[in-house]
Symmetry: C2
Subunit: 551 residues, 2 copies
């Protein structure tokens, strides 16, 4: 690809895409629109975009008083609250970088992230003080600001400030600078299963563009009420709260909640008349279970983006009964995250029957404007988009990372294409003739047998759909003739521990898979080894069984 510079324009191209302009737009044009945030004690905090902007201005003054300079990194350990929302505008607003700290990581990893980014100050929710205290001795951060609704609790942290007290004392006027749009506005580290987290630094430009696309994709309007379910420390909380602010929608922050007690979240959805949200099967499955027990049956009118993993059909169908339409979306920390989301093209609505439509809705969807995708084989050769050929999904675009911050793993993660790069997602996918992406596996977990690919995820999902199976994991083991062959590991549900048989599992698999795709053995076991974040450790299994065919 060539690069050319044409005739000069007369437009105000020097006007920078700045994340804080999103809130200023809302405060100017929707000053009265509401932002609702659930406090730790369950009470609700309410204010308007106009008031939010005033507090963000105070917060900008506070940051300067704390010694935060342009370019500094500022960590945040918080649930989804209005204060996290404020920090998302004030920190980049002064030209600094918000560090999204994933409170689910091991303290060792959180400390790594704080050190690797060079965080100068950390903002911490009072309920998360134990995490801050656990990492404090291993990191160089001197100042902590505690976000609390009441008195600041006792803490062992060094220099401690109260968020609300600082805000009260600060001036409400702040003259926000124009920030060069390629400056980082926030950073998020991957929670990869191997090695240390990798740093992705989002720019003002990339996030504003992402917000525009998310607003188009969700069709957000001032009439909407958007609930921020996705943790805001996960890939910008998927960025949809920015899109909702831009659109003048009402915002609802659920604060701290647990998936095994979703009553407060569901009540908030009802009382605040939520119309849009984003989450993952990890929350939508328990939400369905909860809704099926509640009386009287709640009825919503909600469109919900669902990411992270493929939403089970039963969850999509079940939630539809309650007026919650699950829209499958796909992305990663490296992609801001929106790569694609699923909708039924008008011409397919007529062609497909109901079951085919549901199958279609399970796909990851069609790339949004601003993102390009391609499939490549192990040598980096482009593969066809025919709905059958499996390759590694590679992505580039305005809000895709082009490197990892100070990380040599950058070398193995990108394909250089001259002027631009492609990010190698590590996901194995097909793309059909309509443009729908279907993720079939992690690329490294695909099993190559006799020149053909076998998806470990497909086998696992089908095994786990068997009524006696609790967990199932399939890995490829080196084979002298076929290159690799699949081995399955199955943990039965406790009540079927003694009655489960390999034969019935094979019968079950044969309904869907060809003979050569079946695992060579199904090993029934008590436990499958897991990683620190609870995923199957396929690496451990492959290591344990590497000599299965040769010994």
């Amino acid at each position: 690809m060539r690069f050319v510079r044409g005739f000069p324009s007369t437009m105000m191209d020097e006007y920078q895409l700045n994340i804080t302009n999103i809130l200023r737009h809302a405060a100017t044009n929707f000053p009265e629109r509401e932002v609702v945030s659930r406090n730790l004690d369950g009470s609700l905090f309410r204010y308007s975009y106009g008031e939010a902007y005033e507090r963000v201005s105070r917060l900008a003054n506070v940051l300067e008083e704390l010694g935060v300079d342009v370019g500094d990194r500022v960590g945040v350990l918080s649930w989804n609250t209005h204060r996290f929302f404020e920090l998302f505008f004030a920190i980049p607003g002064i030209g600094a970088v918000l560090l999204e700290m994933n409170l689910r990581l091991h303290p060792r990893e959180i400390a790594y992230v704080a050190n690797h980014s060079g965080a100068k100050v950390i903002f911490v929710d009072e309920s998360l003080l134990p995490i801050a205290e656990a990492i404090a001795p291993s990191i160089g951060v001197e100042k902590y600001v505690v976000m609390t609704d009441g008195e600041t609790p006792e803490t062992k942290l060094p220099e401690v400030y109260s968020y609300e007290e600082l805000l009260r004392k600060a001036s409400k006027d702040y003259d926000f600078p124009m920030v060069d749009e390629t400056s980082a506005y926030a950073a998020c580290y991957t929670s990869g299963t191997t090695g240390n987290p990798k740093g992705v630094y989002y720019s003002h430009r990339s996030m504003v563009l992402h917000s525009l696309i998310a607003a188009i994709g969700m069709g957000l309007r001032p009439e909407d009420a958007y609930m921020q379910l996705v943790p805001m420390f996960h890939a910008n909380g998927w960025g949809v709260f920015f899109a909702a602010t831009l659109a003048g929608s009402k915002l609802v922050f659920p604060g701290r909640y647990a998936v095994d007690n979703l009553a407060p979240v569901v009540e908030l959805m009802q009382s605040e008349k939520v119309t849009a949200t984003a989450g993952a099967p990890a929350i939508f499955l328990p939400m369905l279970n909860y809704l099926q027990k509640v009386e009287p049956k709640p009825k919503f009118n909600i469109r919900a983006w669902s990411g992270a993993t493929e939403p089970p059909l039963a969850v999509m169908k079940g939630l539809k009964e309650f007026g919650i339409e699950i829209i499958h979306a796909y992305g990663a920390t490296e992609t801001s995250p929106l790569v694609c989301y699923n909708y039924v093209k008008p011409e397919l609505r007529e062609k497909l029957n109901e079951e085919e439509l549901w199958e279609l809705k399970r796909k990851q969807g069609i790339p949004v404007f601003g993102v390009e995708v391609m499939l490549v084989d192990e040598e980096g050769n482009r593969l066809p988009h025919d709905g059958k050929t499996i390759g590694e999904l590679c992505i580039r675009g305005h809000w895709i990372t082009g490197s990892y911050y100070k990380d040599a793993r950058t070398f193995e993660s990108f394909i250089d294409d001259g002027l631009l790069k492609w990010w190698k997602s590590g996901d194995a996918a097909t793309i059909d003739e309509w443009g729908y992406i279907k993720i079939v596996d992690r690329f490294k977990d695909l099993i190559k047998s006799g020149g053909e690919w076998i998806s470990s995820v497909d086998l696992e999902n089908h095994l786990m759909a068997h009524p006696k199976v609790f967990e199932a994991c399939v890995v490829g083991i080196p084979h002298p003739k076929w290159e690799e062959r699949p081995l399955a590991f199955v943990v039965p549900k406790p009540e079927f521990k003694d009655s489960i048989t390999k034969e019935e599992l094979y019968e079950h698999l044969k309904q869907r898979f060809a003979k050569w795709q079946l695992p060579d053995d199904i090993i029934i076991t008590d436990e499958i080894p897991k990683t620190s974040v609870g995923k199957f450790s396929k690496r451990t299994l492959r290591e344990q069984y590497k000599d299965y065919y040769t010994k």
Copy 2:
């Protein structure tokens, strides 16, 4: 305002916003979606985004073969057709600039535009050859490409090529470069009533951002069918066809049509199931008149942006009966054009009664994200947004021009605000506490009487609502005591030429205006002087009557 450069991001910020990426996105992800174009003979041409992209690639090769270089300007004289659509991607695609040539201007002005821009090649629709032939001797353009469905007609033009013939011979493969996003993608010259047209050169960046905002504003989806009514030589055809392409909507180009024969347009709206469009009262009023005569009554489901002038209430209400919802929008050549559009905020829907809602819908609307507005007095001081104070509307943002190309009028048209500028729109407006902009007059046509403003447009509109009045024009005349006082000029409808009286017109005005706001005299006349584009020449009237109070 300060400018700061923060911490570097890791994102692919070097990925440029390029207008041709919009069509590539549609061709990749909606390859089968339709584009329909009405030919000169009334027949319909149909193809898909995939096929459009192939023709655009051929066209890019054609441009290079014609000697068009990066940065060159290429003129287009055309109705709204698929070929104009193709040129909008191919010309900027190779790094050149599409010059939008307004075929409604006087040939002298069109020649000025061609010369001032330095156009190298001109593409002309066969039906517009007379215009090209009229200007050819006064401009330096050597090559003309004629766009025709059949044989190329005889012409006096120098070096003439056939669009379709060139395309047939060209390769369908073209490797589009990445164009620096601040390069001009197209240019449009204002059709100002005073002096020569002024050149506005839109960048790739500004138009892509504008397209994203237009897609949000119109809520365009793949299900939509968008009809391009606004001439594409007027401020990028309001840019909505780009937004529709980006969204994967179906596109409908009506080709040549006349407002006194809208049957073919209305039939196209019906047959192609149009759901969205954009136009002006100049077309929506005759459209309503036509619809009211047709049997059986057509029923649409269309949202229609209406710009240029305020849509009369009767037109909005009348079209609503046919399922066409008029959405008032506002902009100018200098603003790409979208500054704001009207929608009813959810909180107002409950507060206002039906008549108040209609009044609200007549306002120009609320600024979109990416655009800032302010009101200033004659000295440039900021004025409050209270719904009452009238000031000159000033605008800045990503798709607002920051200068006029090689034009000294740049000096008087902008307010310097340090890092950024404001464009002075020349429109007098109020902005209410909800953010709605209301244009009350051209700033120079406002009448300042005893320290208070009187809107000439308000008086004119109310006079023209009188059943006996055909045209009305109100101007401010210098007054020794009050500074200025309004004088009205009224042309009666032919049938009321002898029966119309000043008294009944004053009675009519008194229903709405205070005594001091009434014109000092209403002069009944046969004709009001007009400019070359048919607007009232208030300058002429002010000149003729400048001694009215002093002689």
